[in-house]
């Protein structure tokens, strides 16, 4: 596969969500996840809703339109609740969605808020029963005395209906907030992790789970570390990792013992004393951990960087990519405005050669591991012309600002990209800005116009910056005009993610989110 900063160009495909700038709290996207084939894409939001998009069947006559995703099913997964015993509000916000490997014609996913995990079945129905004995199809009752023969209902075709039904509710197992769920490769268990504990569930059993990790100290005042993310190995059913607020990752082997409080491996990079500061611990906290598809590596995201670890090497990462090193001098103000606690996620492409993660100002970053190249792209309404090639962005960290560069001081920290997802096989990515979902894809071969120049610098030149001399947005000329003629309405008036307004009251805007484990 081509690298993102090299000979591949990304172009706009679709944007979902309300167009106005007035963002309703409930519409803020809180998680994005492709299923295992990439045919379905699920988003969860702060309003407790799950929206599933389905990829349209490829249109052979217009190959450039191959990846349209349209709304397939929308449902309210979680409702706001109140825990009367603890006097705590439980938000309906969807923290994570995980698809189950397909087991029959229906699709299954797990969704979780802070406390409760639910298993949903999404199934299609295209036939309905017809024929009653005692009433007409419209509900009017027949005179029972007129029945002379029995009638068995028959199934007749109807318009396709997609149903989402809750199959299981896994509740009452977490005292703290659930940050991760991960399905095991054995296809029958999954884990759920909160700040201090990790539980193991059987997908068919809701009334009990096994606590496999517990880092809660006997005395809560001695608490120095919390669990921030956890994931199962993609192939080895006995292996999982969890990351911590101290920047470490522990790998546990469930074969060794029923309780995994003792890890088998501890991945940790010694701190660079020259970079030591008041913020060191906060920015080293890991916000996401993801195994590569092949299971050899894992990627972690901390505030300023993405690290790739080889599972066989614990003492340092094999690769480190700076996401927005220019913010290092801004940490004080990022602390003031709470941004330093933002939890950025990260993802791998289908063949593990490229990784992607988000940043501020609606920028997102891609790092091509083989070619050591990186690129900064922007998800914005301005770039949302059909098939428009995304122009690489560059942030100027200081000194003289060149044309096309953005000054660090003009970055908008309210526009952050925390959640991104990469199609499991193809070069299609889903990028969530606050309340919009952008879908980008690589430029189809037929559209190539000889622009395959060098659009990125090599990593060794400047690991923490990106630049391009290439004016990337030419070359699409003409091609999108036809698109607009055919499909113009699709992007000119993006449909809202949700056909209905949020049902529950909007949750109160969050207070300050200081890490409660530190001083």
């Amino acid at each position: 596969m081509a690298g993102p900063g090299g000979d591949m160009q990304w172009c706009f495909s679709q944007v979902k969500g309300a167009i106005d700038d007035d963002v309703a709290e409930a519409d803020i996207i809180s998680t994005v996840e492709f299923n295992h084939t990439g045919e379905l894409l699920a988003t969860g939001d702060k309003g407790g809703r799950v929206v599933i998009f389905q990829q349209e069947i490829e249109n052979k006559s217009q190959p450039q339109f191959r990846s349209e995703y349209n709304v397939y099913s929308t449902f309210q997964s979680h409702e706001p609740e109140f825990d009367y015993l603890k006097s705590l509000e439980i938000e309906e916000k969807i923290n994570k969605i995980r698809w189950l490997p397909q087991k029959n014609a229906a699709q299954f996913l797990l969704s979780t808020n802070d406390k409760t995990i639910k298993l949903w079945k999404i199934s299609e129905r295209d036939r309905r029963p017809e024929g009653y004995n005692l009433k007409e199809e419209d509900g009017r009752y027949k005179d029972p005395n007129t029945i002379t023969s029995l009638r068995v209902p028959v199934l007749i075709p109807m318009d396709l209906m997609v149903e989402a039904s809750p199959r299981r509710v896994f509740a009452n197992a977490h005292t703290y907030h659930i940050n991760s769920i991960s399905v095991n490769s054995d296809n029958e268990t999954y884990l759920s992790a909160d700040d201090l504990r990790i539980n193991l569930w059987h997908l068919e059993i809701t009334d009990r789970s096994f606590n496999i990790v517990d880092i809660k100290p006997a005395n809560m005042e001695e608490l120095t570390e919390v669990i921030t993310a956890a994931e199962f190995h993609p192939h080895q059913c006995n292996t999982f990792v969890y990351s911590s607020s101290k920047g470490t990752i522990r790998l546990c082997d469930m074969r060794v013992s029923a309780l995994c409080d003792k890890h088998s491996k501890l991945f940790e990079e010694p701190e660079d004393p020259s970079n030591r500061s008041f913020f060191s611990e906060i920015i080293s906290s890991i916000s996401d951990v993801k195994f590569s598809h092949n299971g050899r590596y894992m990627m972690t995201r901390d505030y300023l960087s993405v690290k790739i670890w080889d599972l066989n090497m614990e003492n340092r990462p094999v690769e480190t990519y700076q996401v927005h090193e220019y913010l290092r001098s801004k940490l004080c103000s990022l602390y003031e405005n709470d941004c330093i606690f933002d939890k950025f996620e990260c993802c791998w492409n289908g063949n593990d050669s490229v990784v992607m993660t988000g940043s501020y100002n609606n920028f997102f970053r891609m790092f091509d591991r083989g070619h050591r190249r990186d690129v900064t792209l922007e998800a914005s309404r301005e770039n949302s012309k059909p098939m428009q090639v995304l122009k690489p962005r560059k942030v100027c960290a200081g000194g003289k600002r060149k044309k096309d560069e953005i000054s660090v001081d003009s970055l908008d920290f309210n526009k952050k990209i925390l959640h991104t997802a990469w199609h499991p096989q193809d070069n299609i990515i889903a990028v969530a800005t606050t309340n919009n979902l952008y879908i980008f894809q690589d430029k189809p071969l037929t559209e190539r116009t000889g622009l395959e120049g060098d659009t990125g610098t090599t990593m060794s030149d400047a690991a923490n910056t990106t630049s391009t001399d290439n004016n990337g947005d030419s070359g699409l000329n003409g091609s999108w005009v036809g698109w607009e003629m055919n499909r113009g309405a699709a992007w000119l008036g993006p449909v809202s993610l949700h056909s209905q307004p949020a049902s529950g009251p909007a949750p109160p805007s969050g207070g300050r989110r200081r890490p409660w484990w530190g001083g």
């Binding site: 029959n104 068995v152 028959v154 029923a258």
Partner: protein, 589 residues
């Protein structure tokens, strides 16, 4: 009621059919459960051509409805026209065998296995076997897992060509991509081996077994342990060493504790399957290792098997093996760090005394029992106490009584009411073994103290306990020891204790007999009808109703009737109600 041209016998069936698609799950469920009624009314022809096609497509429904449907279809052969038409039931069961819910799939497979027996050999090859093949090569793992359970029922009844195909399909499923299917295949491996010709067991099954037992996923490997039992039973003794033992040894030392746990859990079955020689040479050391395993779950599972394992050892040198190999490990487990391990051991350790005999028990086991009786964990102590009968037979309980008493007293006063409840339940057993003298001297006070426990469940259990004691020791003993104390509580200032008197009388009257009931208990009950607390008064009415049958008719008429009549005009509604109920039950009106 009958209309001009309507047939009112059709009406109830029409309702049932309509409710097959009612929005209310309960009504649908009800209709499905009466599916045979519907089928009878429709006749075999319409059942085949209309009802079954409709049911085949209703797999959208709730699990409980589908479960009921899967079960019904297993008994439907006569309703579709007998064995000749039984294959008509295959399509709906085939779709049920692919749903995501394991319980529904399993039930569909169970019904398919059932109706497979009703297929003629020809139908089996024409209809049933193709279905198995379709499921086995289905796109989704749900259908492939269901297929695993169907091979063994059709294999014995098909031609050798089809047999070869079936073996091939099973082989394929054993190396399926998804662990779910490999697990299903592993769990059916033993069953399939049983219907295979011995040569194929040796050539096919052993290689599949070896492969599954070294699967990369421990969730698959652990199921191979179960198959190990069936396979070992099928093979002649001389083949076990080469074909099964390498795999079993490997499983007993598996890196994953779950696999070792499974070996420990199945140890008795394995022991029986491999026979005495291999047990002596291989299983004894393996069992020692499991008892010393680093994972507590494994030790607990092994500890649970200590007695069974020892019992099944070859008799000629059983005692020697236990004394030199097993007992040292058991001694260590008594002071294990994990309470589940200790409590698992405590539930079986007493059984060793019958195997080892009096002298060994006194010398080696008694110190262990005594240590466990003093264990910090109540469950361990309870498990020892609950198994006292085994020791009683061998050395008599007196040997233990010195330590037993403090242990019982401590449990009887435990802060957790569930612990107190558990020890109460063992009281009748203990009383029987310790004898009436010891009981009166040491335990009677405890039993009476429970009657005024502040937890109702304890007071209730204590009353029930008294009844069992009276059954054991007789009415005379009751009259002298417990009845006076129980009746004394009738004057307690706490109304809950006064009610306990009534509850005790309810429980004891029958065991104590007419004389004690009439002369001693009845006056107290009658007196309590003047109690100022309404709860006591209506319990008097309930008690009178309860003890009425024990009393003679004279007492009923002259003493009980006036009191009940007075209570029937009580100001309290509940008192009135129960008094009236008693009057009518005792036929005093």
């Amino acid at each position: 009621m009958a209309g001009a041209d309507g047939d009112d016998s059709l009406y109830p069936i029409a309702v049932l059919i309509d409710e097959l698609r009612n929005e209310d799950v309960q009504l649908r469920l009800n209709s499905i459960k009466k599916l045979s009624t519907i089928a009878l009314a429709l006749g075999v022809e319409r059942t085949r051509t209309e009802l079954l096609p409709f049911l085949t497509d209703t797999i959208y429904d709730e699990d409980e409805v589908l479960l009921a449907l899967a079960e019904q279809l297993g008994n439907f052969t006569m309703l579709v026209g007998g064995p000749e038409y039984v294959h008509c039931l295959l399509p709906p069961l085939e779709s049920l065998a692919t749903v995501e819910e394991t319980v529904v799939r399993d039930k569909a497979v169970e019904s398919l296995r059932k109706i497979s027996q009703e297929h003629s050999p020809v139908d089996l090859e024409v209809h049933f076997e193709p279905l198995v093949k379709r499921l086995a090569s289905g796109d989704w793992f749900t259908s492939r897992t269901s297929a695993c359970g169907l091979f063994s029922v059709c294999y014995p009844r098909v031609s050798s060509t089809v047999k070869a195909e079936i073996r091939q399909h099973f082989r394929t499923l054993c190396s399926d991509d998804t662990p779910m299917v490999r697990r299903a295949a592993a769990s059916k491996l033993g069953e399939f081996a049983k219907v295979l010709e011995l040569d194929y067991v040796k050539s096919d099954i052993i290689s599949l077994f070896t492969a599954l037992a070294s699967d990369e996923q421990d969730s698959v490997r652990l199921l191979a342990v179960e198959a190990c039992v069936s396979i070992a039973t099928l093979l002649p003794q001389e083949d076990l060493e080469t074909l099964v033992m390498p795999t079993l040894r490997q499983a007993a030392e598996d890196k994953s504790w779950r696999v070792r746990y499974m070996v420990a859990d199945k140890f008795s079955e394995l022991q029986k399957a491999v026979g005495p020689e291999i047990t002596k040479n291989d299983l004894v050391p393996a069992f020692q290792n499991l008892l010393k395993d680093c994972e507590a779950e494994v030790r607990a599972a092994a500890a649970n098997k200590v007695k069974e394992f020892c019992e099944n050892l070859p008799e000629d040198n059983r005692e020697q093996i236990i004394m030199t190999h097993i007992l040292p490990c058991v001694k260590e487990l008594v002071s294990d760090t994990n309470q589940h391990v200790k409590s698992a051991l405590a539930s079986v350790i007493m059984g060793l005394s019958t195997i080892l005999g009096k002298d060994n028990t006194i010398e080696h086991l008694l110190p262990l029992f005594l240590a466990q009786l003093k264990d910090e964990c109540p469950e361990v102590r309870l498990n020892i106490i609950s198994n006292l009968d085994c020791v009683n037979e061998v050395i008599g309980i007196r040997q233990l009584s010195q330590s037993l008493l403090p242990a019982i007293v401590e449990l009887a006063e435990d802060a957790k009411w569930r612990v107190r409840l558990a020890i109460i339940e063992y009281m009748p057993l203990l009383a029987g073994q310790l004898g009436v003298e010891f009981f009166d001297e040491k335990l009677n006070t405890l039993c009476m103290a429970w009657l005024i426990d502040h937890v109702y469940a304890i007071r209730e259990a204590a009353t029930c306990n008294l009844m069992k004691l009276v059954e054991k020791f007789g009415a005379e003993w009751a009259q002298n020891t417990i009845v006076p104390k129980v009746l004394g509580m009738a004057n307690d200032p706490n109304y809950l204790h006064r009610m306990t008197t009534l509850f005790c009388i309810n429980a004891l009257s029958e065991a104590c007999g007419q004389e004690i009931t009439t002369k001693q208990m009845l006056p107290v009950v009658l007196k309590m009808s003047n109690d100022q607390v309404a709860n006591v008064r209506f319990n008097v009415a309930k008690s009178l109703q309860k003890i009425g049958p024990v009393l003679d008719s004279n007492a009923l008429q002259t003493e009980v009737k006036p009191v009940l009549e007075k209570l029937a005009s009580d100001t309290d509604m509940d008192v009135k109600y129960f008094a009236q109920e008693a009057i009518s039950v005792l036929a005093l009106a």
